[in-house]
Symmetry: C2
Subunit: 117 residues, 2 copies
């Protein structure tokens, strides 16, 4: 139904999987080989490799050039793009809280006094 | 391949589409009917309805109960969950910047002086 995904959609789609998010969490501690990444998971190496391919395709990880030891590294760029996108909504829900604060202030102070008179 | 998705995966998957993100952006301006939402898009009403169903399934929008006029509203909860998740990575790339700052400070000050002597 859809043509080639835009970069943000590609990133969000790659992140929409708990195993792939767990792999990214692992890589915040430093570069790791496929075997090191696979260790804590109860999944086959080919399945891990498929997940890494999706993450690499979305630019969320990069891989070293060395044939045998190809360490995976976390790349922050696409995550920053998601953060930038969601930042616009942060204002939205912070705004809701501000309005809620003002409302609570009003009903506990202004309206309370009104009822007493 | 995967069982029922966890809430965060469900949210990220729903967000991984430019039309659905545009619908959410529209709803930051207030509740809207399906027809109002569909207006700026060159997509059929049934296609818009399918997108709304995905957003509703992920809890990103809610819909009024009124049979004819069922306004859609943006729900901030799932977006806040994504923001909370990405917050851990924000520390990661801000940390990288801190290290970069320290490095730049070092090469422009410490190392520069070293070369002079």
């Amino acid at each position: 139904m859809q043509a080639a995904a835009d970069p943000l959609s590609l990133t969000l789609s790659a992140l929409a999987d708990p195993t792939r998010r767990a792999i990214l969490a692992r890589l915040t501690q430093g570069a790791a080989t496929v075997n090191e990444i696979a260790e804590p998971f109860d999944i086959s190496l080919p399945a891990i490799s498929r997940h890494l391919k999706v993450l690499e395709g979305a630019g969320l990880i990069s891989r070293g050039r060395e044939a045998q030891w190809r360490p995976c590294r976390l790349e922050a760029g696409p995550l920053k793009a998601v953060d930038g996108w969601i930042g616009k909504y942060r204002k939205f829900w912070e705004g809701s809280f501000d309005r809620m604060d003002a409302y609570l202030h009003q009903i506990t102070k202004g309206d309370g006094r009104g009822r007493k008179s």
